[in-house]
């Protein structure tokens, strides 16, 4: 091996390394730095070891927020993945119908997240909102700022409306990528529509569905803007998810140490769960040709 050539290779990696360093590694190290010190002001800091971690891990409100978060993400995945596959299967395969449904599906994804929250505030207002006043008009009292159940239902509706299209688009792309010959072969074999779905479409979609599941899990686990705008974490703390609670600690109470420790734990949870999902789906997907 020529050593000079090896050194040159490092230069090629350098730009990427610098970008990753500034965008990920340095901010992360800053958070680590904050999480093990008590900072009073510039130049006034005390090393506290793992104290913030202990405090955060023992915080009952964090436990509640975590449980809420799991429930929310679990429901999101259970509803959006099957619904998304279902819609993708029903969508037209070609012609103007295909283009139209793709545009319609993409619309919610193009709206800024905080605007989504605002849209749904207006949409669900009990007095003037299209949905809110309609439900009230039917004689069912509806006010998501007062009822935790209704707040959850509203949030879930918004979330499903906003993000199912992403699953649809991914599943649709996966379906379109299956060669026509598979369906002909199944037809000749006399396979039923259910068999075609189970043995051809689903296995062939496994790749894109893995991505859909990971994206939807991560995004829903990190959800902030929409519930912040729509419910602000209330009524009470009933829709205070992890990121909303984190911002309350960091910005509301200015407890940077515990917030940093919390951030790291949050990060590790997502990393661990994503890895777990990925492993499970990879192992299940060994038959994917």
């Amino acid at each position: 091996m020529n050593k000079w050539e090896d050194n040159k290779a490092w230069f090629l990696v350098l730009p990427v390394f610098v970008i990753v360093a500034f965008s990920a590694i340095i901010p992360l190290m800053t958070v680590v730095n904050y999480s093990i010190q008590d900072i009073f002001g510039p130049g006034e800091r005390v090393f506290v070891g793992l104290e913030w971690f202990k405090e955060v891990l023992g915080d009952p409100r964090l436990h509640e927020a975590l449980m809420r978060q799991f429930l929310f993400s679990g429901l999101v995945l259970l509803i959006e993945i099957p619904l998304g596959i279902g819609i993708a299967l029903l969508m037209p395969k070609k012609g103007w119908g295909a283009s139209l449904s793709l545009v319609l599906m993409a619309l919610p994804l193009l709206i800024p997240w905080n605007v989504i929250g605002t849209i749904w505030i207006v949409f669900t207002r009990p007095d003037i909102g299209l949905l809110g006043s309609f439900i009230n008009g039917m004689g069912i009292p509806f006010d998501h700022t007062a009822s935790p159940t209704q707040a959850w239902i509203t949030l879930m509706l918004m979330e499903v409306w906003h993000w199912t299209p992403l699953v649809v688009l991914l599943a649709y792309a996966g379906l379109r990528a299956i060669p026509e010959a598979y369906f002909q072969a199944a037809k000749i074999d006399g396979a039923s529509a259910w068999a075609v779905f189970k043995y051809i479409q689903l296995p062939k979609m496994r790749g894109v569905l893995t991505i859909a599941l990971l994206l939807r899990f991560m995004d829903s686990f990190l959800i902030y803007a929409e519930p912040f705008v729509l419910t602000g974490g209330g009524p009470g703390n009933t829709t205070t998810f992890l990121s909303i609670y984190l911002v309350k600690i960091a910005v509301g109470q200015f407890d940077l140490g515990p917030a940093a420790a919390f951030s790291l734990i949050y990060f590790l949870i997502i990393l661990l769960l994503s890895w777990l999902f990925y492993q499970v789906l990879q192992n299940a997907g060994k038959g994917d040709a």
Binding site: P179, A181, Y182, Q184, A185, K187, I188, D189, G190, A191, Y199, I200, P203, K204, K286, G287, D288, A289
Partner: protein
């Protein structure tokens, strides 16, 4: 007894894909459909399978009209260009899948699967998934799936086109053996004349949606009825040299002339097109009767152990195929030889007048 296509036509969006298709396939026969890309081979197979309905015409099986019968009720097996297997099934389950749908006895299924797997040398791979197989093995699995159910109609749509050269040869030989044992009507499409010749049986030459010629494969090869058939059934495509016959002398361009001999003796005075297959041109004189042509080299390519020289003879383009590796300079004039006994003679309108005996 067999499958008959009567006056079939297929139009898609006003565009004619196939027209005037009248064909008969006998039970137990091996049939090759030869045609270039987009000639309508796959459309024809799809019509025969019942995957598409013809715009006009009818399809008969053993004298019974099955034009409108659903695919599920027919007894068909099909192999595709792409390697089509159920991705989550093992090789065993893939081969067994058409039988399971028909609710066959488990022991009988097992016997048939083992037999098909044995024929295609898949015995050691029955537990694997398609993604764990090579391309050749995947296609073997697909072929085993197709032959396992003993369908009345076995359709193969360029099954070997996505395999490498070695595997293709290997499977070509094996397929011939497998087809011999079938009672089904086997229909096999290909773009390659060599593959068609190897498979033998009957041939249908298809071009631009029309049947050009049918018959026994070697017969059609030796007596292509029109210039179009000769082009499709030669690789590289057959070469044409215009000529004029006068006073028992055939006159080519550039002052080349030779007297009538052999099968050419019966010709009467007229303009003709002489067809010569590329492998009948030689760079060296082989016989005393050989005619010498002076041509200008336009391109020389070496493919495997053969040399292809594209050259210009009085404004007509010819391709010389010579076994061995030769280098000829582009733009240089070279001499090539051809024996008159090799000439296919076509009329100016492209009909075969006489072929080499």
């Amino acid at each position: 007894m067999g499958l008959s296509l009567k006056n079939m036509q297929k139009k898609v969006d006003g565009e004619i894909h196939l027209t005037d298709i009248n064909l008969d396939f006998e039970s137990g026969s091996r049939n090759v459909i030869l045609g270039r890309t987009l000639s309508g081979k796959t459309s024809l197979l799809r019509l025969m399978a019942g995957l598409d309905r013809p715009t006009k015409g009818q399809l008969f099986l053993d004298g019974k009209d099955i034009t409108g019968m659903s695919v599920r009720k027919r007894s068909i097996a099909m192999v595709y260009q792409q390697f089509i297997n159920y991705p989550s099934f093992t090789v065993y389950d893939n081969i067994a899948s058409p039988l399971k749908v028909s609710r066959m006895d488990k022991k009988e299924i097992d016997r048939r699967v083992q037999e098909a797997a044995h024929m295609l040398h898949l015995e050691d791979m029955l537990d694997r998934l398609p993604s764990e197989l090579s391309g050749g093995q995947q296609q073997r699995t697909a072929i085993a799936r197709a032959i396992v159910r003993d369908a009345e109609l076995l359709l193969l749509d360029e099954p070997l086109v996505n395999l490498d050269y070695k595997l293709r040869e290997e499977l070509q030989i094996e397929l011939q053996e497998i087809f011999k044992k079938r009672e089904s009507i086997v229909v096999y499409t290909t773009t390659e004349p060599a593959e068609a010749l190897m498979l033998g049986g009957n041939i249908v030459v298809l071009d631009e949606g029309r049947v050009l010629q049918t018959g026994l494969t070697p017969n059609v090869y030796h007596h292509p009825a029109t210039t179009k058939v000769a082009e499709v059934f030669s690789d590289p495509p057959i070469n044409y040299i215009s000529c004029n016959l006068k006073d028992s002398q055939i006159q080519l361009g550039g002052g080349v002339a030779f007297p009538l001999s052999g099968h050419l003796k019966t010709l009467s005075d007229a303009h003709y097109k002489l067809g010569v297959r590329s492998n009948h041109f030689y760079l060296k004189r082989k016989n005393d009767e050989d005619i010498r042509l002076t041509v200008e080299v336009e391109l020389a390519e070496i493919n495997g152990s053969e040399t292809f020289i594209h050259a210009d003879f009085n404004g007509e383009r010819i391709v010389i195929q010579e076994v061995g590796i030769y280098s000829r300079k582009i733009g240089s004039e070279i001499e090539v030889y051809v024996n008159p006994s090799r000439f296919f003679v076509y009329s100016d309108t492209g009909q075969l007048v006489i072929s080499p005996s």
